[in-house]
Symmetry: C2
Subunit: 149 residues, 2 copies
DNA sequence: CTTTTTAGTTAAGCAGGCTTAACTATATGC
DNA sequence: GCATATAGTTAAGCCTGCTTAACTAAAAAG
């Protein structure tokens, strides 16, 4: 029982630190690119999940189709997104990151990763093995959870 | 060498999933409370770091004092923040979460934690021990890194 | 073939965040 | 004690995101 409580405490502590760090980092990075957070989030979403349509964006961010269309349009105008007609359904559009758009997101991800690298740098080899194992376990569990839903 | 590459890959994969989830969760939660993301972020910051002044907010979020003052004012009006005069410097204000403000943040954190709980629920006891150990290591490393800077 | 549904766009209008500029009030340096 | 710096507020104005409403065009249903 105390085991369980302690375990819970450990995960919570870690989450608090990690979430705070990554949120801070992302909003700072987005600002440095000159993009608004909503705009940048769309780029991230596309990088994470791959090509999609305008209505997927509106669903994902819980905004109207109109709002999504306008945001997407700005990103297309700015050269971060490519909007082509879906050949299988000519009403729909297929959104894709341009090279420039992708490079923005990748750059942001790398900055986040750098923090983790700094963290890990000072660990011993055994510690690193432990961390590696644990994160692999969690990643797998997350993927399983995703599928089930 | 391949060890190192693999390790790097594992942490990256985990970070991508975790960051994506938590960002998505936070923005969704903030919206459900009726607060804007900037407003909610201020509440989070106060919960994370404790009481501070208006200019600490402007520094932290890289906005002008004027903007911070206005955001804070809205939160005070809405009853989520308490703004009192600093007795040791009567120019300065001390910002504190009200009970209602704190409860919002805590509620958000708990929703994030629930995801992690779901993740962990399906792990074996040994796996849980491994995860627990590893997260404790990372948390400690993060705290050490914070101090050094 | 007509009706209805779906995907997306456009325009008007509102609300929010942010900036600059001007201001008040307190604290600090010389 | 006076000049300067610091903490915060207020107001005007801009830009962005978002919504509703009206619209186009294509697909699906009947």
């Amino acid at each position: 029982m105390t085991e369980k409580v302690q375990f819970s405490q450990i995960t919570r502590q870690w989450m608090d630190i990690f979430m705070h760090r990554s949120m801070r980092g992302w909003s700072h990075f987005a600002k440095s690119t000159g993009l608004s957070m909503p705009q940048f989030s769309i780029l991230m979403q596309l990088h994470h999940k791959g090509a999609c349509g305008v209505s997927d964006i509106s669903e994902r961010f819980d905004i109207t189709n109109a709002a999504a269309s306008q945001l997407v349009d700005k990103l297309v105008q700015s050269g971060y997104l490519e909007r082509t007609e879906d050949p299988s359904d000519r009403r729909a559009k297929v959104l894709n990151l341009t090279d420039q758009g992708r490079s923005f997101v990748v750059q942001g991800i790398q900055e986040r990763h750098r923090w983790m690298d700094d963290l890990v740098k000072n660990l011993s080899t055994e510690e690193r093995v432990k961390v590696s194992e644990a994160l692999a376990i969690l990643t797998e569990a997350a993927q399983r959870l995703e599928e089930k839903k």
